[in-house]
Subunit: 135 residues, 2 copies
Amino acid sequence: MISGKFAITIHILTLLHKFPNDYLSSEFIAGSINLNPVLVRKEIANLKAHHIVESKEGKNGGTKLAVNAAELTLKQIFEMTFETIGLGFAKNQPNPDCPVGKNINQHLENLYSEMNQKVSAQLEGISLEDFSNQF
Amino acid sequence: MISGKFAITIHILTLLHKFPNDYLSSEFIAGSINLNPVLVRKEIANLKAHHIVESKEGKNGGTKLAVNAAELTLKQIFEMTFETIGLGFAKNQPNPDCPVGKNINQHLENLYSEMNQKVSAQLEGISLEDFSNQF
DNA sequence: TCATACTGTAATAAAATATGTTACAAATTT
DNA sequence: AAATTTGTAACATATTTTATTACAGTATGA
């Protein structure tokens, strides 16, 4: 299910790309997104775990892109933010005694899986640089 | 954002397709989905508004498919359940004084719009009959 | 070396959304 | 008339998302 994480992460990365020489603080970034700085830091933690950005603690610290924006695709960001098109139905526990109920989740998952593949294929063709250069 | 409505509606329609000669009660359908009958009736109300099903009140009442399952596409169901891949970020109000914040929603919307087109194109090729015949 | 300004992270709270329940009028069948 | 079902509103609960507070740890530079 697509949540705000994808949008937030793209926003963060776009800013980092626009200021390639600076360590941007979570407060500055949060000011652009209009979001709580702690949430920004959480997304940055995720980006760090994937070695997409590096950050520096302490005074004048902040975060900086650690990869080539031309080589980072939106597909990677999509996957990195744990996004999938999914059941979106938290408590999907159909009746196993019903021939339809018994199998529907499998068929829905197959369907969603194909949807994800289509979306991924599209996002693979767009780099962070492409996205950022629209601005 | 994809929610349970899409899954629930497909489930309902698959059942209706499997029992083309019966008026199925919301209770029966709810039993297969393992969902509250009122929620089933709500989705059916939506289907009725789109003339996809017809229902009969009163004793032995219920709901029945009103269209040819071969001609009803999952794309129609997708749209009918108000599904879109969207921002998923309820309070996305970036800072208008920031060059990135000012424009990001437009660019994200364009991106999501393309994603929806890909998904729609895929779902257009799958009929309810196709889906139901997998079972 | 000390004040300052950051990150990192946990704990908690609030808000938004999704799902579930109860209740009952209206409709139709037997 | 009794039984069963839809239709719908009003309300309740659960889940997920977003926000806040708090503070330890780290680097900078005056």
